[in-house]
């Protein structure tokens, strides 16, 4: 580390804890390996590229929920409302306004979802425990019903017709194999991940962890913690909206299902499986969940429900830090 440029030239400088703090946010070898591994489907599993896109989209959605659930401690059963809002914004831009440009579609979807998230954050940060769970559930269900009722706009259960996403940068066409779709989804996931990583490794991320660890202590140290919560909730809603828009753009469909309770519950299940509060847990959870579903539900939907339910119970009972947490513990033990 370079010389401490601080004014206080005390021999008891904070170099050691500073070095420790820096280490917490450094990129580890595993991370590099992970993102390189994300390129594997291109070369070894080209028939699975569509599934890979789905996983990337779900991972981004899961990251958005991890920001509020894993880091700030807000338990939500209704986050699909933002995913769905983003999906519909992107869909409507194309289907009703004829604007199919993907990048701007993403940004607009994210911005609008973020705006709704900001409005929703006002009541959300004022309740806790069961009331909070029920308010998030209620808001999610409410949004679904609203979209269902406004079928003139949303196309109801059939969904939107006439979505046509343009080529990315006017050059990369969405091919049938899914090369473009996965590249696109992976790139957006990576960017979303980078942003989230930055946020959780900042003093703001520390404040969120403080809120999660001991909410009453926060006002005692002079923190406007509700304002922190509103900020992260808004950001989380925006990212979820981007994920939803990604889904619309890569599949050229948008139906009511994107707003469903099922989707809200699935993403929370993914988080618990992978492990909350670590970002990578969200990604791992999405991978496990969707791979399992792809393999098992293909055999028999009941099969899938049974095993995922069982896995969920096992993880909650025996792996409190999720599967990723258990893996990291196993790796760390030799040290």
């Amino acid at each position: 580390m370079s010389e401490d440029t601080n004014v206080r030239q005390s021999p008891l400088s904070s170099n050691e804890p500073l070095a420790w703090l820096k280490r917490q946010s450094r990129w580890s070898a595993f991370e590099w390996a992970f993102w390189l591994a994300a390129l594997i489907p291109f070369f070894f599993f080209p028939t699975y590229l569509t599934l890979a896109s789905q996983i990337a989209i779900a991972a981004l959605f899961a990251i958005s929920v991890d920001l509020i659930l894993g880091y700030a401690g807000i338990v939500t059963l209704g986050h699909a409302m933002f995913f769905g809002i983003g999906a519909y914004v992107a869909g409507l831009l194309s289907a009703k306004l004829g604007w199919g440009e993907p990048i701007t579609g993403l940004l607009l979807a994210g911005a609008f979802a973020g705006l709704v998230g900001f409005i929703a954050s006002f009541p959300i940060v004022r309740v806790r425990h069961l009331a909070l769970i029920m308010v998030t559930l209620g808001l999610g269900l409410l949004t679904y019903e609203l979209a269902n009722a406004m079928s003139w706009l949303t196309g109801g259960t059939d969904g939107l017709f006439g979505i046509d996403t343009w080529d990315i940068f006017g050059y990369f066409r969405f091919d049938l194999w899914g090369y473009t779709a996965y590249s696109y989804a992976l790139a957006v996931l990576f960017l979303g991940f980078l942003l989230s990583r930055r946020v959780v490794n900042s003093s703001f991320g520390l404040a969120l962890r403080g809120i999660r660890e001991n909410t009453p202590r926060m006002p005692a140290i002079g923190s406007n913690y509700r304002w922190h919560l509103q900020k992260i909730y808004t950001l989380s809603a925006a990212i979820a909206g981007v994920a939803g828009a990604l889904l619309t753009q890569t599949t050229d469909t948008a139906a009511l299902e994107v707003l469903s309770f099922q989707r809200s519950a699935d993403v929370v299940v993914m988080l618990i499986l992978g492990g909350t509060g670590r970002l990578y847990g969200a990604i791992l959870g999405a991978v496990i969940f969707l791979l399992m579903r792809d393999q098992l539900a293909g055999i028999n939907p009941q099969y899938w429900y049974f095993w995922i339910g069982l896995l969920l119970m096992i993880v909650v009972l025996y792996m409190p830090k999720g599967i990723l947490g258990r893996l990291t513990d196993l790796v760390r033990r030799p040290e």
Partner: protein, 286 residues
């Protein structure tokens, strides 16, 4: 005008059904703060026990009701002793997810055993059909539901107010630490309450077959309803569950009848609104 009376009647009957299904969850939530989303699955269990008892063993309908109650109560005791008690301090999220996992498993098992179709039952003659009052026709079974629910309200009220166990339950709901301090075995009280509450859910499931049908998705389907009743009524409050269930029942039926497009939307809006003003629910204590 006549329509309104019938809608209110049907809504009240549905609300009574919701009450029987939900009261157990409300009390156990207030008692131990354990969020058991598998509560609906106990309802499903009760329903299937009734179907089995009637079809395979030729039980008369009325006799299957206590059977459903007992089956659900027994299963809940086993689950509580082996699995649930490890999660009492695990936090809301873990409880929510564990019990959701349980619902998944239960749903899968039910589908495997009974298939995905509806399970109809044949009610005894005296429960079928309708009666005519003031020129309007009201279903007999719905009368039956209301009577049964009111009986249960009376029993629960009597049990809570007049028996020793009831006093112990009330004390533990009010203040667990103090209750333990004066020597109450809170764990045993909870196990008993949990069994009774789950048994009532099983009974509710059995009663529900005629009104809303029974299929493996019952556990999920009614989860939302039950949660709304409990959250709006207030944790640990029987009166709250009654009020919440009646409100939701009438609201749901009326909404679907008069405002089919936005009926559900209004219910959820009301849910959010009530919780924002009174996060503890209408009758909640803590």
């Amino acid at each position: 005008m006549g329509n309104i009376a019938i809608v209110l009647f049907d809504g009240l009957a549905f609300g009574m059904l919701l009450f029987v299904l939900s009261v157990g969850l409300s009390v156990t939530l207030g008692l131990m703060n354990f969020i058991n989303l598998a509560h609906g699955a106990f309802g499903m269990l009760g329903g299937y026990v009734t179907v089995l008892a009637m079809r395979q063993f030729g039980f008369p309908f009325l006799l299957t009701l206590p059977a459903a109650f007992l089956a659900a109560a027994l299963v809940s005791v086993v689950l509580e002793r082996t699995l649930f008690r490890r999660l009492y301090r695990a936090g809301e999220l873990n409880q929510v997810l564990f019990t959701i996992g349980l619902v998944f498993v239960a749903t899968a098992v039910a589908t495997y055993t009974f298939g995905t179709g509806q399970q109809p039952i044949i009610l005894p003659d005296w429960l079928r059909g309708s009666v005519e009052i003031a020129g309007m026709r009201f279903g007999v079974y719905r009368f039956f539901l209301i009577v049964v629910a009111l009986l249960i309200v009376a029993l629960v009220h009597f049990g809570l107010e007049r028996t020793r166990l009831g006093a112990q339950i009330r004390a533990s709901v009010d203040n667990q630490r103090v209750a333990q301090g004066i020597g109450l075995d809170v764990e045993r009280i909870f196990a008993v309450t949990f069994a009774l509450g789950s048994g009532l859910a099983g009974l509710g499931g059995a009663l529900a077959i005629e009104i809303v049908g029974l299929d493996p998705s019952f556990g999920f389907h009614f989860l939302v309803y039950v949660l709304i009743v409990v959250a709006v009524g207030g944790l640990g409050s029987v009166a709250g569950s009654f009020a919440g269930a009646a409100l939701l029942g009438i609201g749901d039926v009326a909404g679907k009848y008069f405002l089919p497009e936005i009926g559900s939307f209004l219910i959820y809006l009301l849910l959010v609104g009530i919780l924002l003003v009174r996060p503890m629910g209408l009758f909640g204590k803590r």
